[in-house]
Amino acid sequence: MPGGPACSQAAGDSNHVNKKRILLVDDEPALTRMMRLNLEQTGRYEVREENRGASALAAAREFMPHLIFLDVMMPDMGGDEVAEALDEDPMLQRITYVFLTAIVTKRETGTGAAEISGKTFLAKPVRRDELLSVVEQLIG
């Protein structure tokens, strides 16, 4: 990251240490990219993308995010399995995660995130303001 194009953003750099880290796990690279762009646009978050469920744990250990967005339906390893592994890992179990899903409808989640059997869900297609308010709510 340092030495990259972000170096030119002086204000961003000065806040670097205070930025909350968010890991986005979805098998759709365009989606994680759009989410990252919207989150980074605020200048408040450091975002990393991961497009393979099976690599999500390794990425989490390395990045140690404050929040993880997990797509439920992924071809190699589903978000629910990733979440289970997170819960069982002493290093990672305190990380907050939110499921991204196309199957739970907006009516069920309302706007913003919803808790279904103890898990937080965010329904696709998610809008920028919803995304930001959920993040704000969960990790300030």
Binding site: E28, A30, L31, M34, M35, L37, N38, Q41, M73, A102, I103, T105, K106, R107, K124, P125, V126, R127, R128, D129, L131
Partner: protein
């Protein structure tokens, strides 16, 4: 064998007692009868005669009248007074030839009279005649006994109850089956007159037969029984006739209760069969429906995933760009159009998901009227704005039953919205609910498919509007997913499929049509109690 024959022959040989106080007379009598096939006994006075008669039970007594100790008339009176000796035949012997004595003797029960001096051939002839009578009587009695035995055996073995009636209508015999069926001991039955029988139809049948009718049959009758329920029976009263004269009647009773029970059991089995057939059919329908939904569900989930991800990308990309770009009026307008397009696509996919996922109900007892009222509240504002009157006629007597109130509210909401869109402005929405027995005219195609039958009691809800009604061409397609008559972007095409799905999950039915006065009608049926 030979001995048996002799013994039985001996037993059948008549015993004749000769009574006279004069030895000479006794000798004459003895000699006139000896050599014939009789067993002869002798008594030389009245007292002796009584003693021998009581001990030896002769079939015939030749009895002298004039005897010093007990005279013949007295001997006869005493023998006739004692039932065990009353059956003996008595022939008086006397020198007396007075008419009065002959009459007296016959009045006392004598069978004949022989005057002294005897002619041995005459005595032999008279004795022979009476002994023949005695023999015949014995044979008759024995035959009668046999017949009675056979009769009793037959009557006892009969499943039918049999009661014999004499010419006066008094019961003369009754078999055990009749005793069982009448619930009264044989003595009680035998004491009955026609007037003692119940019911009246039975008395009438008896009277008609005793009055000359050949036979009366009553196929269906309930016999009252002491201390029990009446017995369903079939009965036949048949005349016993001699020539043209009715001598009595036979009453034959057949117990129908077992047949009734068998019939009832059969009917019940058939009902159960019909019921299980119906359940099977319902289960089959539910299976088919479930299978359909299952495939739709898998498809829906796949479609949702495939469509929502691109939508999410476009949505977020657009949101990002709106932040990055300096927006002009035209650009803003473009973004708005794009946003609407995304919302529309999202609505369609969401509807598909709803449709595929209405598979389980959360049932709690609820009153249908409350659900209707709650649904009405949600559209009240829009109804007012459109100046659509609401005319409700809800039956307060409908008992609660398990409903998924939320889902059912969605049903009514869909129907009310459709009605509102059909009416547009200024009109009436009629809503009625009833608990009532269905007539065949109430049963639309969906109701029949759901297994409702004429005669069933059901909760009936009608939602009617004063709009233009449903185009008959469209009637058959109303429940097809994605069929809509609304302008593009307004209807998902899934409202009615979802509605029907929810109703079907409640084991109810919904039929759509037009009401006679114009406007559309939705008729919903629910079973009063969910099993």
């Amino acid at each position: 064998m030979g001995e048996d024959k002799r013994q039985s022959g001996d037993a059948m040989r008549p015993t004749v007692l000769l009574v006279d106080d004069m030895a000479a007379n006794l000798r004459v009598l003895y000699e006139s009868l000896n050599g014939s096939d009789y067993r002869l006994l002798i008594a030389n006075g009245g007292a002796e005669a009584l003693k021998v008669a009581r001990r030896a039970r002769p079939d015939l007594i030749l009895l002298d009248i004039m005897m010093p100790d007990v005279d013949g008339f007295e001997v006869c009176r005493q023998l006739k007074a004692d039932p065990s000796t009353a059956g003996m035949g008595v022939i008086f012997l006397s020198a007396l030839d007075a008419i009065a004595d002959k009459v007296k003797g016959l009045e006392l029960g004598a069978v004949d009279y022989v005057t002294k001096p005897f002619h041995p051939e005459e005595v032999a002839a008279r004795v022979e005649t009476h002994c023949k009578i005695v023999r015949l009587e014995r044979q008759l009695a024995s035959r009668n006994r046999e017949l009675k035995l056979v009769r009793d055996r037959i009557l006892n073995a009969m499943v039918e109850g049999v009661v014999g009636l004499d010419a006066d209508g008094r019961a003369s015999f009754v078999n055990p089956a009749a005793v069982r069926m009448l619930g009264e001991a044989a003595e009680g039955v035998l004491a009955r007159d026609v007037a003692d029988w119940d019911p009246a139809a039975l008395r009438e049948a008896m009277s008609r037969v005793l009055a000359g009718e050949e036979e009366v049959t009553i196929r269906d009758l309930v016999l009252p029984r002491t201390g029990g329920e009446g017995l369903p029976a079939e009965l036949r009263v048949a005349a016993i006739r001699e020539g043209a004269v009715t001598r009595g009647a036979v009453l034959v009773l057949r117990d129908l209760s077992e047949r009734r029970q068998a019939q009832a059991a059969l009917a019940q089995t058939s009902d159960q069969l019909r019921e299980s057939h119906r359940e099977l059919k319902e289960a089959q329908m539910q299976l088919i429906q479930a299978a359909k939904l299952e495939s739709v569900g898998r498809l829906a989930a796949g479609v949702a995933h495939e469509v929502k991800n691109p939508l999410a990308i476009v949505q977020l990309g657009m949101d990002y760009l709106q932040q990055e770009l300096v927006l002009e009026a035209t650009t803003t307008r473009v973004f708005q159009d794009m946003q609407q397009a995304i919302s529309r696509a999202d609505t369609v996919v969401r509807g598909l998901l709803d449709f595929s996922r209405e598979r389980q109900l959360d049932l709690t007892p609820a009153a249908i009227n409350d659900i209707i009222d709650a649904s009405l509240q949600l559209v009240r504002h829009e109804l007012n704005q459109r100046n659509i009157q609401v005319d409700t006629d809800l039956d307060p007597g409908i008992p609660p039953r398990p409903f998924d109130a939320d889902k059912l509210q969605q049903v009514f909401l869909n129907l009310f919205m459709n009605a509102m869109h059909a009416v547009g402005h200024d009109g009436t929405l009629h809503i009625s609910s009833r608990l009532r027995v269905l007539r065949s005219g109430d049963l639309g195609a969906q109701a029949r498919e759901a297994g409702f039958l004429a005669g069933d009691t059901a909760i009936c809800v009608l939602v009617e509007d004063t709009g233009p009604g449903i185009n008959p061409e469209n009637l058959a397609r109303l429940f097809d997913p994605y069929f809509t008559t609304k302008p593009i972007g307004e209807g998902s095409g899934l409202g009615l499929p979802v509605t029907r799905n929810i109703v079907t999950l409640h084991r109810g039915s919904i039929d759509l049509g037009n009401r006679p006065g114009g406007g559309a009608r939705a008729a919903l049926l629910f079973r009063p109690e969910q099993h």
